[in-house]
Amino acid sequence: MATEPERILLAHGGGGQLQNQLIRERILPKLKNEVLGELGDSANLQLSSNVICFTTDSYVVKPLFFRGGDIGKLAVCGTVNDLAVSGSRPVALSLALIIEEGFETKLLDAILQSISEAARQNRVSIVTGDTKTVDHGAADGIFINTAGIGIKLPDVELGLNRIEVGDKILINGTIGDHGMTIVSQREGISLESPLASDCAGLAELTCRLFESVRGIKFMRDPTRGGLAATLNEIVEGSRRSVEIEEKEIPVKPMVQAAADMLGFDVLNAANEGKFVAVVAPDAAQECLRICREHPLGKEAVVIGEVVEMRDAPLVELRTKIGGRRIVQMPYGRELPRIC
């Protein structure tokens, strides 16, 4: 039997270990530059007297339309959020569309409408764009890429190296909403369900936080790979460990039930309207207060804290029954299990 050639797996785009490997071993060596090498959510570019944050993301979600949003809304909010968690005020987006031959124009119209509304709500302009088409079957309907620019807020310094023992970890609301909505719609298992994506732009809330509170050390939006991936990235990058309280992690019962049914772990499920923030201990209460006054932060809560690393940087969970276990970096593709 001839040996199978190596192929890109879906998991290479999953936001977990395999993607990191692909980036570090195949892409970075070819593109060699310091700014790219930092692998931040946004790149800081010093341009005259303003610091501009610059980011890009591609959107390939299936199904294209889901309860709580669609690929268009996602394409705007996702990029806005990368700029937001980098401590900038989003200003402008580019928009590139790759459309499959045969895609219905009324669907394209609906997506463009969502993009327009999301841009307006998040106060960003789509300042440049591009459209391509590909053969039928080559693009799952439509793929979108957005690149975004934001103006860095003054006196904001975020970095994994700023994280210290004792810092608190907070999240602005429930986890797993987006991931479980997509999966249950895609698997065709949920006939009617109030499960909805949390897709939303966070810039208004994050700007408010950065403008009012000193002591925010780091922020990231836990998209693919979920909270588990983000926490693991934090411990790896800061060379600390974290301890999380399971009972503090907010999860909607309906989302948990969907995860239980499929054998998924909500910690690994994607979020599109959430951020994880690492803040100085005396800044935590003020951050919570500001979050809870905003519609996107009503369920904000401290879920854990940063502790000293022992032999390796670990994410440790104190479970509901008082036990302990480790949260590992997800593989990159959750599969529904039965057995």
Partner: protein
């Protein structure tokens, strides 16, 4: 080995059912539970109801079940 969750039968025609777990609705078959009735809470595995759930017993040790009970008559929000 066996992921199964409790859910309430909210539609039933022959052995084809729709079950509700915390607001999520799924198709399931009751072929293995010929005596299942509308309104029963059943254990669902791989698309099949494999047992009815004794609600009194379940309330004693099953946290997930207690949550389903609470959700029972709540309207969906959002």
């Amino acid at each position: 080995m066996c992921l199964a969750v409790p859910a309430r039968i909210i539609e039933l025609e022959g052995d084809r059912a729709v079950v509700d777990a915390m607001g999520n609705r799924w198709k399931a078959k009751t072929t293995l539970l010929p005596d299942a009735k509308l309104g029963d809470v059943v254990l669902v595995h791989a698309g099949f109801a494999i047992s009815t759930v004794d609600e009194e017993e379940a309330k004693k040790t099953w946290e997930l079940f207690a949550e389903i009970e609470n959700m029972g008559s709540e309207k969906f929000d959002g």
